[in-house]
C-alpha cells in the first residue's frame, strides 16, 4: 500500500541514447529494462524464439526496440524508438536512436526533449567519431546532463588507467562544446558492473552507478523558471448558461512562474493586464510554472488569440523578423536559399524565406565550412531567415521551448528542418 502511494510521487526523466550495433548499447538498455522489470516474460520468450530462428547466439535485445518489419529483416534501426521503465524513484523515457551519421536527424529528434544524454564509449577504442558526433548534438540541442558510460571495462582488465585516458580524451574534445554537466562511469553492460549494482572489479571508482545517477541527478532546474513566457494555444469560451462570459487562455507555461495578481503584457499588442485566475479542471492554482498546462483569465477584456504570448513588461523576449538559426536539415529535398517555408514556433505559425547560409558544420571535426554551403539531409548549418511577421523568441540556450523552430515544406507539408535560435 505504501508502495502504491510512492508510485504517485515519482519524477520523470527523459534521456536519449545513440550508438551502433556493437558498442553494447542494446545490451545496456536491455539490462536497464530487464533489471527494472520492464521486459516481460512473454516478450523475452518471443525474443529468444526470434533470435533462434535467425540463427543468432543468445538473445538479441535489439529485436525488442526494432519494431518495424524492415528493421528486423535488415538488422538496422531506422527510427527513434521510445522505451519506458520505472524504478520507485523515477519514470524513465528512453529515446533510442541509431548513431550513424546518416541518422543525424533521428539523434536530433531524440535529443530535443531529453534531460540527459547517455553516451557509450567502447573502452578498447576510446573516443571515436560517433562519440564526438553524439556529444556535439547533445551540446547543440542543449541537453542539460551527459552521462558518458565507458563500456566493456571487462575487456581492458577493469583498468583505471584506461578509464582516465578516455575521460581526459573526452574532456579535451568537450572543451570546444557547450556542455554543462558531464559524468563518467566505467561499466560493463554485459556483466552488469556499475549499471545497477556497484562493481566489485573496480574498487578504484568512487562515483555512482548509472542507475543511481539516473535516479538522483537534479532535474528541477532543467526548465527555465526565470523568464515568464505563456504562448496562447487555444481560447476557451464556453458561452454556456453556467459560464456566459468566461474567456480563458489555454496553453502551457514555457518559462518562468505565473501567479494570480501578476501584471502581464500581451504580445504583439503590448496591452497590459493582470492575471485574474489560473484555472485547471481541479480548481484554481496559486502558481503555474513550466511545463504545466493551464487556463489563464485576465482582469481586462482584450482581444487575444492563438499565437499571442503573455510575458512580463520588464522581461520581454526578442521580437524580430530577421532571425539567426542553427538548422538541422531533415529531408531528402535540399534546402533552397531564397526558398519559402512555413515556420512553426511556440503556438505561432508564419512563413519565412531563407536569406543566407553563413556556414555548414562538419559535425565530426567541428570545422565551419564556409566554402560548401549547400544544406541537404542530415546537414547542420547556420542560416538567417526572415519571417512574414515578428516571432517572440529567446535564444535556444536561454530557453529550449521559446528558442526552437521547425520548418515545413509548403508543397509536401513535410517537416524539413529543426532550428535552434541563436
Amino acid at each position: 500500500m505504501r508502495e502504491t502511494k510512492g508510485y504517485l510521487d515519482m519524477e520523470l526523466l527523459r534521456f536519449t541514447t545513440a550508438g551502433s550495433v556493437d558498442d553494447g548499447k542494446s545490451t545496456l538498455i536491455g539490462r536497464l529494462l530487464y533489471d527494472s522489470k520492464a521486459i516481460f516474460e512473454d516478450q523475452m520468450e518471443l525474443l529468444e524464439e526470434t533470435s533462434n530462428q535467425r540463427g543468432e547466439e543468445g538473445v538479441n535485445l535489439a529485436l525488442l526496440t526494432d519494431g518495424l518489419r524492415a528493421e528486423r529483416e535488415q538488422g538496422i534501426t531506422i527510427d527513434v524508438a521510445y522505451r519506458y521503465f520505472a524504478t520507485p524513484k523515477r519514470k524513465f523515457i528512453i529515446a533510442d536512436t541509431p548513431g550513424h551519421i546518416q541518422y543525424t536527424r533521428n539523434m536530433v529528434t531524440g535529443a530535443s526533449t531529453a534531460n540527459l544524454a547517455l553516451l557509450l564509449v567502447d573502452a578498447r577504442h576510446g573516443v571515436i567519431e560517433q562519440t564526438k558526433r553524439h556529444a556535439f548534438i547533445a551540446s547543440l540541442l542543449q541537453i542539460p546532463h551527459i552521462a558518458v558510460c565507458i563500456n566493456k571495462m571487462d575487456l581492458v582488465g577493469h583498468s583505471q588507467k584506461a578509464f582516465e585516458k578516455i575521460k581526459s580524451e573526452f574532456e579535451g574534445f568537450a572543451s570546444k562544446l557547450e556542455i554543462k554537466d558531464v559524468h563518467f562511469i566505467p561499466i560493463s553492460a554485459l556483466n552488469g558492473d556499475n549499471v545497477v549494482d556497484r562493481s566489485k572489479n573496480m574498487n578504484w571508482y568512487e562515483g555512482s552507478t548509472l542507475m543511481h545517477l539516473l535516479e538522483n541527478i537534479h532535474i528541477g532546474s532543467d526548465q527555465n523558471h526565470v523568464d515568464c513566457r505563456f504562448p496562447i494555444q487555444y481560447v476557451v469560451r464556453p458561452q454556456s448558461p453556467e459560464f456566459p462570459d468566461y474567456r480563458g487562455y489555454a496553453g502551457r507555461i514555457e518559462g518562468g512562474v505565473f501567479k494570480p495578481g501578476d501584471q502581464v503584457t500581451v504580445l504583439p499588442s503590448g496591452f497590459i493586464s493582470k492575471i485574474k485566475s489560473i484555472d485547471t479542471f481541479n480548481g484554481e492554482v496559486t502558481e503555474a510554472f513550466s511545463p504545466m498546462s493551464v487556463c489563464i483569465t485576465l482582469e481586462d477584456n482584450i482581444d487575444i488569440s492563438r499565437g499571442d504570448m503573455l510575458v512580463r513588461e520588464n522581461n520581454k523576449p526578442t521580437v524580430e523578423q530577421d532571425i539567426d538559426v542553427m538548422i538541422c536539415w531533415m529531408n531528402e529535398k535540399k534546402m533552397i536559399v531564397g526558398g519559402k517555408y512555413t515556420v512553426r514556433h511556440t503556438s505561432q505559425t508564419a512563413r519565412c524565406i531563407i536569406k543566407e547560409v553563413k556556414y555548414k558544420m562538419d559535425i565530426n571535426s567541428l570545422h565551419r565550412n564556409e566554402e560548401d554551403r549547400e544544406i541537404g539531409l542530415n546537414d547542420i548549418g547556420r542560416i538567417t531567415i526572415r519571417t512574414t511577421k515578428p516571432l517572440f523568441f529567446d535564444s535556444y540556450t536561454r530557453n529550449r521551448n521559446t528558442g526552437s523552430i521547425v520548418l515545413v515544406d509548403e508543397a509536401t507539408n513535410e517537416t524539413v528542418a529543426a532550428g535552434m535560435i541563436i
Binding site: 508510485y7 512473454d42 468566461y246 517537416t415
Partner: protein
C-alpha cells in the same frame, strides 16, 4: 523534490492536455475514438480537463463490432449521460450488410479486423480530418515508433518508414485534402501510469477490470469469456474462474486473466509484479510477429 518540479503523472497529464488543445487548434473537424476501455476513458477525462470549463470541442466515436462485453456498452452510455458529451456509434454490422466488410468464418472468427473498414467509412462519412486514439507506445513494438501526430494518406494508410520528424513540442498537422491524422495524446504513458492516474484521479471504470467470477474457456493459452459469439470445439467446455480484464476489446479476442485484484490498489500491485505484457492475452496480436504493424498500415488503430 523541488517545488518547481512536477510528478511524472502531472507531467504526462500536461503533455496530453497540450496535445489535445493543439488538435482543437490545428484541425477543422477532429473526432476522438472511444472504445470504453481504460485508455479511452482516460483520454475522455483528459479532454474534459483540457477544455474546462468549456465542453469538449469535438465528438467521440465508437466503432461497435456488436461483440462487446455488455458491461462496456452500459458503462459507455452512462458516462455520456452523466457528462453530457456527444458520442457517435458506428456499427461493423452496417459495413457487413453493405458488403464493404466480410464476416470471418471458422472457429477463431472475429470482427476485430473488420473495425478498420467501419472506422475508415465513419471518418470519411463525417469528413473528419483527425482521429485521436488512446494507443500507447509501450503496448506493442510497432507502436514504439509511432508519432504523436501520425500522418495518413487518402487511403488511411500508415507509412512507418516515411514519418515526419517530431521535435520539442512543435507539432505539424498540415495535410492535403482527403488525408487525415491519427493522434495519440497518451503515447508516453505505460500501463502502470494509466493505473496510477486512475487511482490518483479517482476515475470510474467498467466493472470488467476488477476481479469477478465468469465462465471461460482456455483456447491456446488464452482465456476467453463466455458469450454467444464464440463457438466451442468438441474438446472445450465453459468453466467458472475468478478473472479480470487487463484490456477490453471484443469478447471474441480479449483474453481475460485469472486474478483476485478487486480494488485499484490491488490492480496496481498486480501490474507491478506481473511478468506478462498487457496485450499478451490478445489473440489478435498473436496472428503473426508483425500483426500489429500490418493492421496499422491498413488503417487500424
Amino acid at each position: 523534490m523541488s517545488s518547481y518540479n512536477l510528478t511524472h503523472l502531472k507531467e504526462l497529464e500536461s503533455e496530453a492536455i497540450f496535445i489535445l488543445r493543439e488538435v482543437a487548434a490545428q484541425f477543422e473537424k477532429p473526432v476522438m475514438l472511444f472504445s470504453g476501455g481504460k485508455d479511452s476513458i482516460i483520454m475522455f477525462h483528459l479532454a474534459r480537463k483540457a477544455f474546462h470549463p468549456g465542453k469538449i470541442p469535438f465528438p467521440l466515436m465508437h466503432v461497435d463490432t456488436g461483440h462487446n462485453f455488455p458491461e462496456t456498452i452500459e458503462f459507455r452510455d452512462k458516462l455520456m449521460v452523466e457528462t453530457g458529451e456527444t458520442l457517435i456509434v458506428k456499427y461493423v454490422k452496417d459495413s457487413i450488410d453493405k458488403g464493404t466488410a466480410v464476416e470471418e468464418t471458422g472457429i477463431n472468427a472475429s470482427r476485430n479486423g473488420l473495425q478498420t473498414v467501419t472506422l475508415l467509412e465513419g471518418l470519411e462519412e463525417g469528413k473528419y480530418d483527425c482521429a485521436m486514439g488512446g494507443a500507447r507506445r509501450d503496448e506493442e513494438k510497432a507502436r514504439a515508433k509511432e508519432r504523436f501526430f501520425s500522418h495518413r494518406d487518402e487511403f488511411g494508410q500508415w507509412d512507418p518508414k516515411n514519418q515526419r520528424p517530431e521535435l520539442w513540442n512543435l507539432f505539424n498537422g498540415r495535410k492535403k485534402m482527403g488525408e487525415h491524422f491519427r493522434i495519440f495524446p497518451i503515447s508516453n504513458w505505460t500501463e502502470m501510469d494509466v493505473w496510477q492516474y486512475i487511482l490518483q484521479e479517482n476515475i470510474e471504470l467498467p466493472s470488467l477490470y476488477f476481479s469477478h467470477k465468469r465462465e471461460v474457456i482456455n483456447r491456446d493459452g488464452v482465456l476467453l469469456g463466455k458469450c454467444d459469439y464464440i463457438a466451442l470445439k468438441d474438446t472445450e467446455k465453459w468453466e467458472e474462474r475468478t478473472i479480470r480484464c487487463r484490456t477490453i476489446g471484443d469478447m471474441t479476442c480479449t483474453g481475460v486473466a485469472e486474478s483476485d485484484a478487486d480494488t485499484l490498489e490491488k490492480i496496481i500491485e498486480e501490474v507491478a509484479t506481473t511478468r506478462f505484457t498487457e496485450r499478451g492475452g490478445r489473440a489478435d496480436d498473436k496472428r503473426s510477429e508483425a500483426a500489429m504493424e500490418d493492421r496499422k498500415k491498413e488503417g487500424y488503430f
